[in-house]
Symmetry: C2
Subunit: 199 residues, 2 copies
Amino acid sequence: MKIICSDLEGVFVPEIWVNVAEKTGIEALKLTTREISDYDVLMTKRLEVLDKHGLKLKDITDIITTIEPLQGALETLNWIREHSQIIILSDTFEEFARPLMKKLNYPALLCHSLVVDSEGRIADYKLRQANQKKQAIKALKGLNYTVIAFGDSYNDTAMLKEADFGFFFRPPENVIKEFPQFEVTNTYSELKDKLTSLL
Amino acid sequence: MKIICSDLEGVFVPEIWVNVAEKTGIEALKLTTREISDYDVLMTKRLEVLDKHGLKLKDITDIITTIEPLQGALETLNWIREHSQIIILSDTFEEFARPLMKKLNYPALLCHSLVVDSEGRIADYKLRQANQKKQAIKALKGLNYTVIAFGDSYNDTAMLKEADFGFFFRPPENVIKEFPQFEVTNTYSELKDKLTSLL
């Protein structure tokens, strides 16, 4: 039996932090792993910036609620769910993802979580597991599933390697160059064709 | 982080085989895991009965398409999906489940599959994995999830034991007596209260 795993941001919804930075106008939130390569340092800085601006979880989720899934994402996801099982593997936090999951009709999502204090302030974040995407693929293979996986960036490459069939969806040029072994799909139509050939 | 796993038949939809038995009028198809706890013995008997009556896959899925989820099931499942992640673990087959999954808004489902011959006859069935429900719980625990599980019958007890928090939903009397260690919920309201206390 086959099962599909996919990334979330850049695949079905826009990059969440980029949108939060744009909508709050806070420059410091535009920093990504390109500027600060250590994810822990980056996340700690992001939380400090939120504190400095007095932004609590609800302020951020209110912003995230205004983000729409990518054009065609819902239809594509609905099509996938009619034809197979899909579990979304994301390095975002469940509290941030929730408003977007609602707009995507609640597909299954495995991700991380935030630590929120009694006043609604984001006190910390909690990565559920190191290499969680890859570990999830391994677990599904252990349940005798043949796993098809797709994503758009660096943090997806370990899961694409671990999957029985892994390929990119809308990756940036530098990622394509660094990982030439993965086939590239760029439109939802190409994605559906690729999945049809694999299911 | 927490995740919920649940059974399907008897929890969100009626027992599929019981419905097929009623709608075809074939008594022998009324047996379930409530009566015969060895699933292999049960399934082999069911397929023999279908063959004897000349019933093919499409005849069965046509009947399944007429089955509705249990009263309140969709609302309960929607409520769960707004509050947590849920993966349904069922010993049914994806070919049978599909029409019901559509009516339940496509929750994630891990189950088994059928072997269908070129003439549409159900030639065999393929259990994806022995003890698949228990194995799925173990896999999710391996992904650092705290697992909450509920189901109604014998084939759920191994998953309820393996889960961090396992309890029954609408179990028959004999199952309650045999497994007194599991708390019993009987209505969706009780189920939601129980989940609320665990999430």
